[in-house]
Symmetry: C2
Subunit: 433 residues, 2 copies
């Protein structure tokens, strides 16, 4: 059974702190193994990747077969049912439209000193997307990672997706094609991250790596960070639903189970101003669990990490939610826009009872790659901005340099950086003399 | 002597590759020591920080004296000369004005399916800035880190700055006050990063940590990444100057030396379309080095990492610069705006001969915390955006859910996520029934 808390109870604060501090994922200590794999790929390139793929994925590749050929992709895509293709295309279109609005503007202006200032945005040249194999090989994640990169203007976009025992998800390949991915490598794990970051004989290095993965992939991304850009280190998924009694308990139960079915480490929290409604949702969860295909996973997640919290009112619910900083937040209340203004930390907000979180996973438009494990306190979901970088611009006229140069010289001197000061002084002397 | 290359020479590409691949900084392997320090601070809080500060900084603190008191800050600030204060205030004002323009807009719209979509930006609640002690304790860096945080709306802003043997830079404290920093802790190293990330009895944890530091600080930031946000892992500074023959070789020499004097690992590269000008600049560097206070550092940097490259024309120079992706790029050419349009990767561009890079270090307005070590390929300088995060918004009407819900259900089914599909289906059934 999940934990039931009531903010009116004396022990609430301690119990809530425990919930907040709950470590839902034991970090496997794979760092040394990953360091060795990265060193091997740097030293031996293709050959290391091929041997590691044989060992971990039981798949014999050559430099020529590291990537799917266009014909192989065609053959896999042909297996996809038309209704699945249509759904993917609708999703892609909506994701593209949403992310296109994120493209920032270049700016430049002249300030009162006569200095021209501004900035320009340019895309990352090459990006690599990691797509897990097996159970978690989600075509929707391909769209969510690849489309922002294309919208940003990334020139070369590749995927690394392991195919253990040669098993491929045709929908992943279709999603890659719809999104405009150039190449799909059938490699995974730390060796794939190393190959993308450093390059091999066959695989050209990329500048940025995004996408979820297991503990090996996460440790490898952390290690190559700096050599390339990375997105975030993703943790287990989570949802917090704020719902009053004027909701169907069954709908809310299904929303909670949508997260719980991802992973035993996932977390689903209901915060409500009605104890009776909280009880009703818990009952509905138990009922729905009986028939759920993934009831073992979802049941374990709900029992271990689930919580029902009864708050005095919706504002208190919002304050609790801000302390959780949830990845997904549903506001199933009469005035969701109003309550949203009280939310300071959340990856994504779903407003009103007709917006189940699952809409956001697929077809809403916003990205489903969102900050987990309370990291919405300081980070954002994936966006076109993750594939762009900003170059600042400054141009001094002689007059601007005369106006502000002496202060720069003064500060350089105070920091004992003489050449800095002289580089300004030499110009000022010419201008003044 | 720095390396001289000419793109017309047969061996150019190999030599340029060597320059690009040159490892300028040996990463000290301090990771295990840092892991132990972080574990100690998590376990013992204040007491661990106090003992480590005694050991590394030879300074006896108590929980009460971890932070400077307002009176101590007043006393230190009183030592600052008025001209230094004026220069800092001018710099602060210009940095504030520039970063204020970076604040992004919230957006929301209704799309053709009737879905309301959008996003909102909110500030990080608490940020910690690391300021190195000793030689590299730069008041300008305090402004460059703290002002974007304040512009973003960060509520609580603290500094960790070690004071080895109790030595304090009054300008650092003045810069902190001008920028609106709330508290300055006199602690440093991995113990400071751990205290900021996890909190201690006295130090409340923050959500984001920025600022440069030594190998211990860098390793600690990498380790706490995920628990808190971090900026980048900064490497040694670098400049690339593209200059034609119509420049004063002495000015360009001083610009190159401005980077070289930071650190022996710093790198200064001149790319010019005139071999004679390249020679003239090299001579000017040698002449200026003779009288430079930091000639040992600057001379070693220039000899080891410096380069003069002669290109066929300015467009080729821009292409070479893009392969370097320099932190600082000066365009000392007749049409700097035109050439800037050919630049795809650079942290900051300084346009024209009256914009020495030192202006950008202090008073230009743009940030001087910029991507080093070729990371301008995928990252940007520090900005107000680093202290903001974006929450995506979505609201479906019944009509919107009817329009796009079935595709979400289809995709959920294809990914074997039954509860996801049911959460949509339950609502559609009600709406349709």
């Amino acid at each position: 059974m999940p934990v039931f808390l009531n903010t009116a109870d004396a022990g609430f604060e301690a119990a809530f702190q425990t919930l907040l501090g709950q470590k839902r994922e034991e970090a496997e200590d794979v760092d040394q193994a990953v360091a060795a794999i990265i060193a091997d790929v740097r030293a031996r390139g293709d050959q290391a990747v091929i041997e590691l793929t044989q060992r971990f994925d039981r798949l014999a590749l050559t430099s020529e077969t590291l990537a799917f050929s266009p014909a192989e992709i065609d053959a896999e895509i042909a297996k996809v049912r038309p209704e699945d293709r249509d759904a993917l295309e609708l999703a892609a279109e909506r994701i593209r439209a949403y992310h296109a609005r994120q493209k920032p503007q270049d700016e430049s202006w002249t300030d009162s000193a006569g200095a021209m200032l501004g900035w320009r945005w340019t895309p990352v040249s090459a990006a690599g997307l990691y797509v897990p194999g097996g159970l978690a090989s989600y075509p929707s994640s391909v769209l969510m990672n690849a489309i922002p990169a294309k919208v940003a203007g990334v020139e070369r976009l590749v995927i690394a997706c392991p195919t253990p025992d040669g098993k491929v998800n045709p929908l992943v390949l279709l999603a890659a094609r719809i999104a405009g991915v150039d190449t799909v490598y059938r490699i995974g794990g730390a060796q794939a991250i190393a190959a993308l970051a450093y390059g091999t004989g066959t695989i050209a290095p990329v500048d940025k790596i995004t996408g979820p993965g297991n503990a090996f992939v996460a440790a490898a991304k952390r290690r190559v960070f700096g050599r390339v850009g990375i997105d975030m280190i993703a943790g287990p998924s989570e949802i917090l639903v704020i719902a009053d009694a004027d909701n169907d308990p069954d709908w809310i139960a299904l929303d909670l189970l949508s997260q719980a079915e991802h992973d035993e480490s996932a977390q689903s929290i209901l915060v409500t101003d009605s104890a009776a409604f909280g009880e009703a949702v818990a009952k509905a969860v138990a009922r729905r669990l009986e028939a759920l295909e993934r009831r073992a996973i979802a049941g374990a997640s709900w029992a271990t990490n689930g919580a029902v919290i009864v708050a005095r009112d919706l504002s208190e619910a919002a304050r609790l939610s801000n302390r959780v900083a949830p990845e997904h937040l549903e506001l199933c209340v009469p005035d969701p826009e109003g309550l949203a203004r009280e939310i300071t930390h959340a990856g994504a907000i779903f407003l009103g009872q007709y917006t189940p979180e699952a809409i956001g996973d697929y077809v809403g438009g916003p990205n489903h790659v969102l900050p987990t494990a309370r990291s919405a306190r300081f980070s954002s979901g994936l966006s076109a901005l993750d594939f762009l970088k900003r170059t600042t611009l400054a141009k001094m006229t002689p007059e601007a340099l005369k106006a502000i140069g002496p202060a720069a010289e003064r500060l350089a001197t105070s920091e004992s950086l003489q050449a800095h000061g002289l580089s300004v002084r030499a110009r000022l002397d010419r201008l003044n003399g």
